[in-house]
């Protein structure tokens, strides 16, 4: 099944074209990494997929149904979104935050249903945050908080999980644990789309990469096809060196310096 089909989508903000004729097809079960320089339109593309922004023209199909005809709650029952940064202005407990992922399924005043509690429990287990569940969310480290936000997205019981730079600002341990979590969720059948600023992590974990540059798709392919000196040097305008990862046969990048 095709999870996501984007056809000739354009999007502008204040007369500046952010997304310029993007087309993309994503099969169910894929693990796609979107990479590209700052301002390439990566985050905007994610917002279009989640229905937060509406495309100026072109069509987006989600699980073979057009996105345009669906309301935001309907979309939220299919796509779980992890934004780049989450500020918690109110100090909810971890459990409460995860339960908010059930918002697209709930009515005002109604108590949580059996399926809400089940979804909450499954999300807490999947994200491995049982030991944090009673903690106020503002007492957590940023790595722990990111797991909670991912758990909240999982409580939506999404068929497609979309993440915007989930490992930025995280230390090595948490970068690793978040990416391993995504890998495990993907192995269990969840379709995953991640925007990455870290090319080495993207190369190591994503099975397919999409390179964006000034609102257009520059290239798409496996890490081996895409992480190449000539392609990256051109798009990023920086000289790079490519080596092989010692454990896994994928390319890794180093900056060039004298």
């Amino acid at each position: 099944m095709i999870a996501l089909q984007i056809k000739d989508v354009n999007f502008s903000y204040d007369a500046a074209r952010i997304i310029d004729g993007v087309s993309l097809s994503l099969k169910q079960g894929e693990f796609l990494g979107i990479i590209g320089p700052n301002g390439a339109g990566k985050s905007t593309l994610l917002r279009l997929i989640c229905g937060i922004c509406k495309p100026a023209d072109g069509e987006i199909m989600l699980f073979e149904k057009p996105l345009a005809g669906q309301n935001q709650k309907e979309i939220a029952r299919q796509v779980g979104f992890v934004p780049q940064e989450t500020h918690f202005t109110l100090n909810f407990t971890v459990e409460d935050v995860v339960m908010m992922g059930r918002y697209p399924y709930q009515q005002p005043f109604m108590r949580e249903k059996r399926e809400d509690i089940d979804a909450q429990e499954n999300a807490i287990t999947a994200a491995n945050i049982e030991q944090l569940r009673k903690r106020p969310v503002n007492s957590l480290s940023s790595g722990e908080r990111q797991r909670v936000v991912i758990a909240r997205a999982l409580a939506q019981v999404p068929r497609l999980l979309v993440l915007d730079e989930p490992t930025s600002h995280l230390d090595l341990h948490h970068q690793h644990s978040i990416m391993e979590l995504l890998k495990r969720l993907n192995a269990d059948g969840l379709t995953v789309v991640v925007v990455h600023h870290d090319l080495n992590l993207a190369s190591l974990y994503c099975r397919r990469l999409l390179l964006m540059h000034s609102g257009k798709i520059e290239a798409t392919g496996t890490p081996n096809e895409l992480i190449k000196k000539e392609i990256l040097s051109k798009v990023y305008g920086t000289a790079v060196r490519i080596v092989r990862h010692p454990d896994k046969d994928v390319p890794q990048i180093f900056l060039h310096t004298d």
């Binding site: 989640c50 937060i52 939220a76 979104f81 934004p83 918690f88 109110l90 409460d96 918002y103 005002p108």
Partner: protein, 301 residues
């Protein structure tokens, strides 16, 4: 559960104080006046605190209150014009002032593609200052009216209820309670929005529409309240914080708690304002005088 019982007991005690305590002995006429006063206190305190809780939730900003968004100052301006022109508070003008200011703030804040929510605060604060200056001009122009406008700006629960305004005030209160019930249903949306607009949009909330609904409904509610009892300050700012300190961050609980605590607080403040001096103080003076130390105590605890 015990917390709920406790705030209800305190509320009932405040009602009893409002009716029984006073400088004169109780007779049938005084009793009737006091009961009206208590009803107005419950209404105004509850609605203002409820609106404050709602707006703080929408904007994710603990300093937002009914006055930040210009609607209370707009209502005060409308009411002042009413006093200048007709000699008495005219609820219709207060109401018009509140909604007019609301529309103006909305027009200033609106921008193609921009996030309305974040621009409303600044536009509201600016409009609030404008309305206050205009009220000052009216106060300088007016002679005898000065005193009445002063009470309007500080808030006063001793409104004289007679045959000509009774029906109207009851109708305004019923409309307000209907609005409160309508707005209460957004408790989940407010919880979700506290995690940022990106998150809320990703979970299926249309932030633009939601901000509009909350902004105009609360402008309406504040307009209705100010038109009856004047611009009572402080309740809408502080009570939501107290509600959150007691009941935690969930709006399902702290919206309701704000209603009850706001009513309780205003009743106590009004009782104090009646007995502390020979002349009745405007209740808004007492809300700040009593409220600030109480809040500092709670905050430090």
């Amino acid at each position: 559960m015990t917390k709920t019982a406790l705030i209800i007991i305190v509320f009932l005690a405040a009602v009893a104080c409002g009716i029984l305590i006073g400088p004169t002995s109780l007779d049938a006429q005084i009793l009737q006046l006091r009961i009206w006063r208590v009803v107005l206190g419950i209404f105004a305190g509850g609605v203002l605190a409820f609106c404050g809780c709602l707006l703080q939730g929408l904007f994710g900003n603990p300093l937002v209150e009914p006055y930040t968004l210009g609607s209370a100052s707009g209502a005060a301006l409308g009411a002042s014009i009413g006093i200048l022109v007709f000699g008495t508070i005219n609820p219709f003008l207060a109401f018009l002032g509140s909604l007019g200011t609301g529309f103006f703030v909305y027009t200033v804040a609106r921008i193609e593609g921009g996030l309305l929510r974040d621009r409303l605060i600044l536009a509201g604060v600016v409009m609030s200052f404008l309305c206050s200056s205009l009220v000052m001009i009216i106060m300088v122009m007016g002679g005898r009216e000065l005193y009445e406008i002063l009470y309007l700006l500080m808030g006063y629960l001793g409104v004289i209820i007679n045959d000509s305004n009774r029906i109207m005030i009851i109708a305004l209160m019923i409309v307000s309670l209907g609005l409160v019930a309508f707005l209460y249903r957004f408790h989940r949306e407010l919880d979700v929005i506290s995690q940022g607009t990106e998150t809320a949009a990703g979970l299926g909330i249309n932030i633009q529409n939601f901000s509009l609904v909350i902004f105009f409904s609360s402008a309406l509610l504040i307009g209705l309240t100010v038109s009856i009892v004047g611009a009572i300050g402080f309740v809408g700012l502080i009570i939501p914080h107290v509600a959150k300190l007691i009941f935690g961050p969930k709006h399902r609980y702290n919206l309701g708690a704000s209603l009850v605590l706001g009513a309780t607080f205003l009743l106590i403040a009004d009782t104090i304002s009646r007995i502390i001096t020979v002349y009745e103080l405007p209740v808004g003076v007492v809300t700040s005088l009593v409220g600030v130390p109480f809040f500092i105590y709670l905050y430090k605890k």
